[in-house]
């Protein structure tokens, strides 16, 4: 009966059949099931521009270094407020066309940061364009490739009204009398990146991070609140534009070292800028607010780091002060 070693038909037939059955159980059935997932009501479909940007993201194979999945373990909290759920991929992971399948956006390597929530974390248009033209303009230690073929070098006289000029510092342009103009592809890609935000979960979040057993957040120690690490928060949230040494980037992001706003004894302007963002000076890029992203303690810690570093010297801010300002800002919005 079971003479596998003599009957080639039986041997090959059994091996192929067995493999097929197992494949159906472990791949096809779960794939069909999970494909039925519907999007969250808070999610929006891509605009045409964003979808084109996604195509460029796939074309340049950004997935080989950037993941788009927030795992349900606490260390991934850096990359999003909640773990990713199947619905998150409803719009982005559709078949592209006859030739190309649904993109593998989840990724397997995190050589660069996770991009699930990059639209919230890094909302500025200028920043993205500079970073794509040459990542080392904004992040010195970055090893990401430059994408100069998404930009054009134009002479000043040929620049049209509709062209989007990118404020690239001189030393990063080879021909000195030309200016960098973003191509439509670059703009599409940036609009895709800006659209990457975790959708709000309706009601109570059904998914949450598996909590940390370690460091139980240092809670109030005899009334005196211990602030989180301001430098770490600054590095994660601010340094990409304002740089680790607070020097900013001329033409794109203002310097914080020696800034009058930061050294002001009254921290109100500083804290309001952190919360509401800033777009008052045309020579710099737009900054968006962190009201939703950072807590009172975190904002206070960042402000204190900025007020005591790079030669800045101003009195510390308390979370209570931040709280007051948050209430005030809220009242303005109503």
């Amino acid at each position: 009966m079971l003479d596998f070693h003599k009957n080639h038909k039986l041997l090959v037939g059994t091996a192929l059949f067995g493999f097929l059955v197992l494949s159906i159980l472990v791949a096809l059935i779960p794939a069909f099931q999970i494909q039925k997932t519907q999007p969250l009501p808070t999610m929006e479909a891509f605009s045409e521009e964003e979808l084109k940007g996604l195509r460029i993201y796939v074309e340049e194979n950004c997935m080989s270094c950037h993941t788009q999945q927030v795992r349900n373990i606490e260390m991934d909290n850096t990359w999003g407020n909640r773990p990713s759920i199947p619905s998150d991929y409803y719009y982005s992971k559709q078949r592209q066309d006859v030739w190309r399948q649904s993109p593998s956006l989840l990724g397997s390597e995190r050589t660069g940061p996770d991009l699930t929530d990059v639209g919230k974390r890094q909302p500025g248009m200028e920043w993205h364009l500079l970073h794509l033209y040459n990542p080392r303009i904004v992040v010195k230690e970055s090893i990401m490739p430059s994408y100069p073929w998404l930009f054009e070098l134009k002479e000043e006289s040929k620049i049209k009204e509709s062209d989007y000029l990118v404020p690239v510092p001189r030393k990063f342009i080879n021909s000195s009398n030309k200016k960098v103009v973003a191509s439509q592809k670059a703009l599409d890609l940036v609009s895709y990146l800006q659209s990457l935000k975790q959708a709000e979960m309706p009601k109570n979040p059904a998914v949450s991070f598996i909590p940390s057993s370690k460091e139980n957040k240092p809670t109030a120690n005899a009334g005196e609140a211990v602030l989180p690490d301001g430098q770490k928060l600054y590095m994660n949230n601010c340094a990409a534009c304002h740089q680790a040494d607070g020097s900013g980037l001329p033409g794109a992001f203002p310097a914080l070292a020696g800034s009058a706003i930061i050294n002001d004894e009254n921290p109100e302007t500083l804290i309001r800028i952190i919360m509401e963002g800033y777009d008052a000076r045309p020579e710099y890029g737009v900054m968006s607010g962190f009201e939703e992203i950072l807590s009172d303690e975190e904002i206070a810690a960042i402000a204190n780091h900025e007020r005591s570093s790079w030669g800045n010297n101003a009195v510390a801010v308390t979370p209570d002060k931040v709280k007051q300002i948050r209430v005030f800002v809220k009242s303005l919005q109503q």
Binding site: N61, Q69, E141, P145, Y147, I210, A239
Partner: protein, 619 residues
């Protein structure tokens, strides 16, 4: 004896199951004691095993060298003897000489045992005449004396398959080397066709489908005909498959560089029309192999052919499932991706290569495989366990928790086929350890077998949830994939190529170049692996600590540099391998097409049959 080993293996499995596999959601681990976690301790142990074996090989080689040094010591004893002679008095010497003269003057007629004919080595049995036997640069290796009678068309097919694969190896690893350097100098170029994202799949696909697959299939053609004791079903089909598969890799490479990819899923980056070419090549090869086995001249199907046919058939199913679109929207694609990328490695490269080892290892040692039954056990468990573990690439992802758990459980189960295979190979090698010094093929086999155990077991450990905290998404994965695709598959394939090519072309490579190839590849791989493992672990710990991301990029710099250095050594060794390939095959065209190549002499045919029989008779 065998059973006991199996139960010990099972016991070992059971002891590690409850702790790791059935563990419920674990919180961020306490990283203070990370070094003592079972997964990490296991990995370190495994790497130490490789080191120990490397040292073993080195010691064996070195002891051979010292034996030679000893000989020169004996020479100096002779000198002492001469001096003693000078001190003797005349009379004493006189009597000794007289005795000696008588002894010497006795002469044989010099033809007692033979004839007066002049000595002539008409069959070319004496090989490797050296004029300085005491001072060779490297140890002299055993020649492979048998030239197997292989039909010329088959010789050509095997040579061309391997030849094409050598090209893809050099090309693919040149790209890999360039990519490795980009980690250190990201500004090396800013040409779209050479950017990192586009080139990475060029590297992986060229070495997967170009190098490993083509060599495997080329070597498989020999095994399938030899162990079926018959000629290949169709030479023409083999050539069709050759053209289709090469075309697929060449066109696929151009598409990837120009930015046309299937969606970035690893190892299925070629768009479907390009992958289809490869798939048709696979189907043709499967049909050709299957028919050859169906027309075999012996009753049993040798165990190698189980693996070869299984590997081909499974991979065809796999590619079809991987490319059909009906269930691949949303996370459906991710389920398939985990399944596909893992089975691509497990059902294709690993299965097929195991089949090759079951033939080439015992035939290089000139003895049968240790156990046929272990091979059968490994075959079915390979199918059962390997198929279920793809999702371990997505632990903690939004994929269903049960799917992840199944993957982790069976990853641990993979130890059964791995232990069965390793035991089988090592027991086959047992008793022939001294052959290692004498052969340039066996060191490759030994390293491959050791990595088979180490790389696979380490992979099982890496699937555990704890190790995923530290290693997932880091460069550790890259180290693991090189440890397996390079340490296991590539080393095994080199062993097989060096074992068979000289026998069918009649030309052996220069041994010093084979030795250099071996050591540069091995040391290069070790530098590559260890640097990325250490760096990857530090990266993971930095993430758990919540340090800014850029910190983990900065801390990797020195490790990326070491990786590039290791990669350079590996790449140079491939150039040597390419030269050796050229050296072994350059005479092939000149071989006269003698009639007895098609119809082997009766005596030879008898011997062939006997050998085949020996190989399948096992305990």
């Amino acid at each position: 004896m065998k059973n006991i080993k199996f139960y010990i293996g099972l016991l070992f499995l059971i002891t590690i199951f409850p702790k790791e596999v059935w563990a419920q959601p674990t919180p961020n681990p306490d990283t203070a004691n990370w070094m003592t976690s079972p997964g990490i301790v296991g990995t370190i142990l495994l790497i130490v095993i490789v080191l120990v074996i490397a040292i073993f090989i080195l010691t064996v080689k070195a002891s051979g060298y010292f034996a030679q040094l000893q000989k020169s010591g004996e020479r100096s004893k002779k000198n002492e003897f001469n001096e003693r002679l000078l001190e003797m008095d005349e009379a004493e010497i006189g009597t000794i000489l007289e005795k000696r003269r008588k002894a010497v003057s006795y002469q044989l007629t010099s033809s007692e045992l033979g004839s007066d004919l002049e000595v002539e080595d008409s069959r070319g049995i004496i090989a490797g005449v050296t004029h300085e036997p005491n001072n060779p640069l490297v140890d002299e290796k055993k020649k492979s004396p048998i030239t197997l009678d292989t039909p010329l068309p088959l010789k050509k097919i095997i040579t061309w398959y391997i030849g094409a694969s050598v090209f893809w190896l050099v090309f693919g690893t040149l790209i890999g080397q360039y990519l490795g350097m980009k980690f250190v100098w990201p500004e090396m170029d800013s040409i779209s066709w050479l950017s990192f994202g586009r080139l990475r799949p060029v590297h992986t696909n060229a070495v997967f489908w170009g190098w490993a697959s083509l060599t495997m299939i080329g070597l498989g053609h020999f095994v399938i005909t030899r162990t079926s004791n018959n000629t290949l079903y169709s030479y023409k089909l083999a050539w069709w498959a050759w053209w289709l598969m090469n075309a697929s890799v060449a066109i696929g490479t151009l598409f990837l560089m120009s930015g046309i990819n299937n969606g970035g899923g690893e190892y299925r980056e070629y768009i479907w029309p390009v992958a289809l070419l490869f798939a048709i090549g696979m189907v043709i090869t499967f049909y050709n192999f299957y028919q050859t086995v169906a027309h075999r001249k012996i009753e049993e199907i040798y165990i190698s052919n189980w693996y070869l046919l299984g590997g081909l058939g499974w991979t065809i199913i796999l590619v079809v499932i991987g490319y059909l679109p009906m269930y691949q929207d949303g996370l459906g694609e991710t389920v398939i991706q985990g399944y596909y990328m893992h089975q691509g490695v497990g059902m294709w490269f690993m299965t097929f290569t195991l089949g090759l080892i079951y033939y080439y290892l015992p035939s290089s040692l000139n003895k049968p495989i240790y156990s046929y039954s272990l091979g059968v056990l490994a075959f079915w468990t390979q199918m059962l366990f390997y198929t279920l573990i793809g999702t371990h690439h997505f632990v903690f992802s939004p994929l269903p928790w049960w799917l992840q758990t199944v993957a982790i459980v069976f990853s641990a189960g993979m130890l059964i086929p791995v232990v069965a295979g390793t035991t089988n190979f090592l027991m086959t090698m047992r008793g022939s350890w001294n052959e290692i010094t004498k052969s340039y093929v066996l060191p490759f086999f030994l390293v491959g077998v050791v990595f088979y155990f180490v790389g696979s077991a380490q992979g099982s450990l890496q699937a555990f949830r704890f190790t995923n905290f530290i290693w997932h998404f880091t460069d550790f994965n890259v180290a693991h994939s090189h440890m397996t695709m390079y340490g296991i598959i590539t080393f095994m394939l080199w062993a097989c190529v060096y074992a068979i090519l000289p026998k069918i072309t009649g030309r052996e490579p220069r041994q010093i170049f084979v030795g250099m190839h071996f050591w540069m590849a091995f040391i290069g791989l070790f530098a590559y692996m260890v640097s990325l493992m250490v760096g990857g672990s530090m990266k993971g710990l930095s993430w758990i600590e919540g340090e800014p991301f850029i910190q983990s990029v900065i801390l990797m710099q020195p490790f990326w540099l070491w990786r590039a250095i290791g990669g350079t050594l590996m790449f140079i060794s491939h150039l040597l391998f390419a030269y050796n390939f050229y050296d072994m095959t350059r005479g092939l065209k000149k071989i006269p097409k003698s009639p007895d190549q098609k119809n082997p002499a009766p005596a030879d045919a008898g011997r062939n049959r006997l050998r085949t029989k020996n190989e399948i008779t096992t305990n």
